[in-house]
Subunit: 379 residues, 2 copies
Amino acid sequence: MGSVELILRIASRLAEDYRRGEKIVLVVSAMAKTTDSLFALAHQITRFPSRREMDMLLTAGERISMSLLSLALLEEGVPSISFTGSQSGIITNGNHGNARIKKVNAFRIHEELDKDKIVIVAGFQGVSTGKEITTLGRGGSDTSAVAMACYLKADRCEIYTDVDGVFTADPRVVPNARLIPEIGYKDMLALALSGSKVLHPRAVEYAMRHGVPVEVRSSFTFREGTTIKDEYNIKEGNMEKREIIAIAHKDQLLRYRIDASEKSIAMIAAWVDELHKISYHEEYIEVYIEPKYESDFEFALERAKVKTLGKLDELGSVSLIGDSLASDLKLMAELISLCKAIPKCSLSHSQTAVEFILPADKTADLVAKLHDEYLKEKQ
Amino acid sequence: MGSVELILRIASRLAEDYRRGEKIVLVVSAMAKTTDSLFALAHQITRFPSRREMDMLLTAGERISMSLLSLALLEEGVPSISFTGSQSGIITNGNHGNARIKKVNAFRIHEELDKDKIVIVAGFQGVSTGKEITTLGRGGSDTSAVAMACYLKADRCEIYTDVDGVFTADPRVVPNARLIPEIGYKDMLALALSGSKVLHPRAVEYAMRHGVPVEVRSSFTFREGTTIKDEYNIKEGNMEKREIIAIAHKDQLLRYRIDASEKSIAMIAAWVDELHKISYHEEYIEVYIEPKYESDFEFALERAKVKTLGKLDELGSVSLIGDSLASDLKLMAELISLCKAIPKCSLSHSQTAVEFILPADKTADLVAKLHDEYLKEKQ
């Protein structure tokens, strides 16, 4: 959520849907500025905040946006009520700052829906069985929304965000990138893991496991965006007989070369939210991470007593997303020759993606070149 | 609570008390700026906010201050934990915006005190038996603190505020007003009702009913302030054999002359938080209120279908606080002659106070004159 103006616009949009007779549960995030200013306050006090107290602090954010949105709906003449994570029955484990949803006891939500109210639910937060306030960590609001849609057996889950949907490449890098109207869960997950920021991988996984269709739309235009759904349900016409679905990239990666056992790698992976990639070599292991996880990662190395052999920064990744691309030998030959033409570039592949690792300042060029070659709209 | 600096100073003060072996439960209010900005956000959305959603919104304020204070204590090396009104077991009725505490189920607080933690409790808020978030209305944080002290059978309740304690008159009007070290509940209640803003009348009443001594101190200096306690326990030396304890005043009052039955007055009194004074005459009733209740009051008049015969503004009140002052005929004669010398001044009395109603611009002079006459320190 952006601001009061955004809240007002979303309220009037919801009022329209409501008057068409839809039953609506809305999961809200905090307003961006609120979260930033709460973090700033905490950091004036301590460099190492308690996760439990940070959960208490940050959950004030959704409380503010949900009550404001409810006030806006009431002002529109639409009956509405806001619920905290606890009141919504979002039960999590007790892992502060990164809790997992165990179940949703949504009886209060059903009660209010039966009274023809729009129910506004605080995303990102829940309550443990020990009555402690928890937050869900990165991607938490999206995950709350998807989880709520699953438990309520909703027809669909719409995610309103600051982009129009999922594109064939990042439109800031490739201006003629195309909006993808429908995409399968697995492709979306691969995209999310490879750098697309439209939907958090965790929310995609949740939707995939429960088979809930998720539609991503812009909260500015409300125009139709991208629907993420079972691959077998995607309409022939939209699937576009091509194997390459989209390109994702990250332009900030660090590579650590470490001397670690498989066991200590497992420990590190458990402590750090997200490792971009791990590659195993005879003499060492290479771990790629995004800079935002750097301090977590270094702390994990320390705790696991793992020696760092080297560290390289200013790397990036470019991934072609599509099923079994590596089995297309002609394509792979082309990609290998592209990679060879870039200094310090390497190539690897998985079931769902082919990935280049290369100097950060070369990523944008490669994204543009690949999009031009494989994803440009045929005239 | 004022700001991060104040939070840090309070944390270091609490750390000292804690290290002396005291068991501490701290009830916090929201930071002043937070409440103001939350109100401002709501008023960008609606002129008539739902009380239920306003409770949801405003309770974010204590959540922020309590978690920041807990972070500050942890940073000081003091184990601490913050609890919402609901987690603290503060059970209220369901009257949003002006709820009353029904009971306190403080088992979680006792558990954490037993673990040698400082427990920080969100003031001003509670939870209804229907699991709805409520707020206690005006004076709510003070009332929360006193209620908590009662239910926990605390030795004492300290209120940290922005003044040094209770003075013989408002020090901004009477620079040589003296700090009153000890004052009885009834006198304090009379003072609070007559305009002293040190402690809300509701908190004083609560303390009086339960016999909890309350000490008011400055959160800036932490110096000993005023203890409010049972009148029979006040030390001889401090009681100062005088009958006049202090002077309180209000310099903004409105007077409505209305044509109302006793029954409609009762209805109005139930709807408006605080009526300063009601006086009954043969032909009409006069109600004095502070301007902040004006819109509530006019709305109540409308609902009760009561006709206004006249309205006067720019009035003030000056009250001499002391037990049975009116039975001192010499004093009363002096006060009557003082009143006669002021145009449009009237005088009335109760068990605990003698009150002048007069033009607002004459209040400061009268306060100073009365203090000089009856309360000045004998050299």
